[in-house]
Each structure stands twice: as C-alpha cells, then as structure tokens.
Amino acid sequence: MSIKVSDLRYVYNPGMPGETVALDDVSFEICDGQICGIIGHTGSGKSTLLQHLNGLLKPVSGDVYVDGQCITDGSTKLVEVRRKVGLVFQYPEYQLFEETVAKDVAFGPKNLGLKDEELDATVREAIELVGLDYEQVKDASPFELSGGMKRRAAIAGVIAMKPSVLILDEPTAGLDPKAHREILAMIRRIHEEMGCIIIFVSHNMGDIASMCDKVLVINKGKIELEGTPQEVYSEKAKLEEIGLDVPPIREIINKINAATELNSDALTAEEAAEDIKNYIQCRK
C-alpha cells in the first residue's frame, strides 16, 4: 500500500489576473502504514495538495498514484478514488446532515453501493472505531452531540468507506485539551486497526513529532523539507526562515543545549527526560 505523487503542478486562475501557482512540481511518496505529517502556513498549498490526493482537484500536470494505480489519468472512476483515499476536512462536523448518527455515517458507504447487513456492519464498526458507543448514538441526532463527539461522528463517516489512505486536515482544531488528546488517541487506534496510511495535517508541532513517521514541510507550493521528524526538526535555520516552530519540548531542549553540554535531539518529553537523566548520571 502506498501513495505516490510525482511532479504535481496546480495553478489557480490560469491566464487571468491573479494567476497563482498553488503547487509547484510537488513529488513525494508515503509507504505502507506510515503516518505522514504535513506542516506549512495557511495558504502554503497544503489544502490544494490534499484535494488532489482524492481527485477533488485536477492537476495541471503531474500524477497521483494510489497502490501503484494512477488516479489522475482519467482511467479510474472518481467513486473508486474516493473509496481509496478518505479526506476529512477541517471542522468536519459542519458536513453532518442526517437525522441520526448511523444514517449520517452510512452516507459514504451507501454512495459506494453498500447495502443491508454489510452496510449496517460497516457503520457499526466505524462508529465504534472512533470511540463512540454505537447503541447510545446510532439513533441520536448528530446535532445533539457535544463538539468532540460530533467531530468523531463526522470522521466515522469517512472511515466507514474503509479507505487505504486517510487524510485528516487539522482534526484537533478548536478542541479543548482533553478532546484534543482523545482525538489523537483515536487516530492511533484507527491506524492500528485499519493499517491504513494516515496523512495528518496540523499546526501543533508537538502532535506531529509524537504521531508521525515522516514529515513534509510545504511552503509557497513547494516541498521544502521531507524526512523523519528528527531530520525535519533539526533543520532549525530552514524552519525559522519559513516561520515555522519546532515542538515545544525541542524548543526547551535547544535552549538548554546551547547553555550546557546536553546535546539532546529529543522531540518528546519522554526522550528529553531520558537524555537529561543520562546527562546527569554521566556528570557524576
């Protein structure tokens, strides 16, 4: 299972005043079961890229391959593309529309042609996977749920299509710290159980560092950096130039590195604590 993008180019308003290159020869590959983080400013081309991955936008040039199959040459049916690549937009709760949670979650799989028992089983599975109690919510109106639960119900609506690539655009935006942690735990659970590739867009560098195997940094329609979180967050000068932060723990560690001989490259509190312990023991 993989998703591969080669030389993707997209232009808004071609030939018009206000012509802007939104994606400029973007290439990358995400393999088997990886969680890939995408970071970049608002307007960097992130959202444009995501919409190419499931065929909502058509590139000016370049191709997208899912599991080796090209989805941009017109040979693959759109419904097939949408089944393979699930896209959860920012604030997905605003897409809820059905009378009950179960009906809403069923919307996607029904569009794919699922029926009867298979449909019911898929819906139940998706609702349980996002951590909601099926019996409790299936007949409830999605509009009566709390903010965090609404969001999970909306995510269930995409998971129910059993995509091999799941894209989440800022899934924690606007949530309180507790709901935020719960969504992250939910993403990890989905990843474990479905084994799909996850593409995770976030402004929260701490989340990116703790969740992802790979990170892409997008700036002005180009991929500026690509690598493991370790590699990407070590490019301090480059990130500063773009105006992006490093994870808060790394920020602290960078300051301490400068003042002491710690020399840690920790991104999470666990790693940093380990390095500090070793440093203190060595000193003794």
Binding site: Y12, N13, M16, N54, R82, F89, Q95, G108, M161
Partner: protein
C-alpha cells in the same frame, strides 16, 4: 474561484464616479435599467454602450475585471439568446427539422443578449464604484420618506449591508460543504432530475445550519458592539449631494433624452 465573482463586489478607487453621492448612482443605475428596456433599435443600444463605457472609463475599473463577472452568468445569456432565436416568427433564414431561425428572431435574440449584458455590467458598476456602506446609506436615505408609511428603511439598509458582506462567506461555506460531501462519494451530476434534487440535501442542510449559526453569532457580535436599531446612530462618512452629482444628473437627463429620441429615430429609419 468563487472569490472572483464581481457582482456585488466593491473595487476601491477615488475616481469621479466613486466620489458621487450613492443616491445619484442608485437613481442613475435605475434610470439606465429602465432605459435599456425602452430602447428598441441599434442606435439606442449604441448610445447606451457609449454611455456605459464612458462611465467605465472615468471609473478606472479595469475592463477585464468587469467582464470576468459576466462569465458567471454566461449560461443565462446563452439560454436567453437561443430561446429568442428559435421562437420568433418572421422571415426564415435557416431551417432544419423543427428548428427555424428567422431574421426577426435573430434580431430579437441579439437585442435581448445585449440588453442582459448591459444590464449586468451596468448594475455591477454600481456596486463596483460604491462602497457597500455608502450604497446602503444611500438606499436608507432614499427610502426615508417612505418610513412614514411604515417602510423600515434602516432595517432594509442594514439587511443589504449584511447580505453583501456575507455573500463571499456563504459561497466559501457552500464550496467547502460540496467538497466534503464529494469526498464521501456524493455524486451531484448523474441521475434524473428527482435524484439530482435529492442529492442536494446533503449540501442544503449543512448550509442552512451554517447560516443559522452565522446569523446567531453575528447578532451576538452586533449586540456586543452596542447595536440597538437605527435611532441615535451616527455615520463616519455622511453622504452629501455635491457639484459632481449635479453634473451627473444633467448627463442623465441628456442620456434619457437621446434614448427617447432614438426610439423615434429607429421608427423613422
């Protein structure tokens, strides 16, 4: 992109047209629209086109910008043209099966299309050259005399301000919802008319809910900023009738005269 629709947008500038009193521009646009429907021959349209392009020239709004707004309504214009072309009887120019194009039909279709194009450009010139707030202030002042007979002039003006303000927001919202449902495999382009109408439900319901949410939040924000109706309100920029407006009025009367004359001239030719 949705942001490109020019109808209802404002193009910042400091031209003589921009500086006119909003009331002059509203009445002028109304007069222009009425005149468009009075015109019935080529010369009349020529005068209207010249007048409109003179105004565009003075306003310094780029022509490209104005015409981009037309692309959004191109379908309506094309539809009107075709309907008129085939449905009017007269001297036959071309005939195939049930389709017949007549000289009169072609003439009527061209007039209708030109009329629509001028109408759209003319009215978008009003919003392009008038700040929304001036436009609504002007409307409020024009309606003021009618408030004695119960016309809520301030409320109408405020509703217009908010409508103009939220057109782009709601369009973006619609765009987002459509894409979100498409990502869930929704198909808006196939099936018969009933299926297509049904396929709009997943868009309309979230859009309604969004609109209610926006309205609620906006009401709260307005209250927090001490909004309590039109009584006791002041304005940052009071609109006033100046010398430019007097000249504009003279031009309008002249224009009106020429147009009416053209009707008789056309009849004479």
């Amino acid at each position: 992109m949705i942001r490109d629709i020019t109808l209802g947008q404002y193009y910042p500038g400091k031209s003589a047209i921009h500086r006119l009193d909003a009331r002059t521009k509203i009445i002028g646009t109304l007069a222009f629209i009425i005149e468009l429907f009075v015109v019935n021959n080529f010369w009349g349209f020529l005068v209207a086109v010249v007048a409109l392009f003179t105004v565009i020239g003075i306003s310094k709004v780029p022509v490209k910008f104005i015409f981009r707004g037309l692309t959004a309504v191109f379908l309506i214009i094309a539809f009107t043209f075709i309907i008129n072309m085939f449905l009017v009887e007269g001297k036959v120019l071309w005939h195939w099966g049930i389709f017949t194009i007549t000289y009169e039909g072609l003439k009527r279709a061209s007039f209708m299309a030109v009329r629509l194009i001028l109408l759209i450009i003319g009215s978008s010139m009003l919003t392009l050259c008038t700040k929304p707030i001036e436009l609504t202030d002007g409307l409020e002042k024009l309606l003021k005399p009618f408030s004695k007979i119960g016309v809520p002039s301030h409320e109408i003006a405020l509703m217009m301000t908010i409508a103009l303000r939220f057109i782009p927001t709601l369009m973006e919202e619609t765009d987002k919802i459509i894409k979100a449902q498409e990502a869930r495999g929704a198909d808006f382009d196939s099936g018969n008319i009933i299926q297509r109408a049904k396929s709009l439900i997943p868009i309309l319901i979230p859009l309604f809910i969004s609109s209610f949410r926006i309205a609620q939040e906006l009401a709260l924000a307005m209250e927090a900023r001490c909004y309590h109706g039109g009584a006791g309100r002041t304005r940052m920029n009071e609109i006033h009738f100046g010398r430019g407006d007097a000249w504009a009025a003279v031009c309008m009367v002249l224009f009106l005269g020429v147009i009416i004359a053209s009707r008789f001239m056309g009849a004479a030719i």
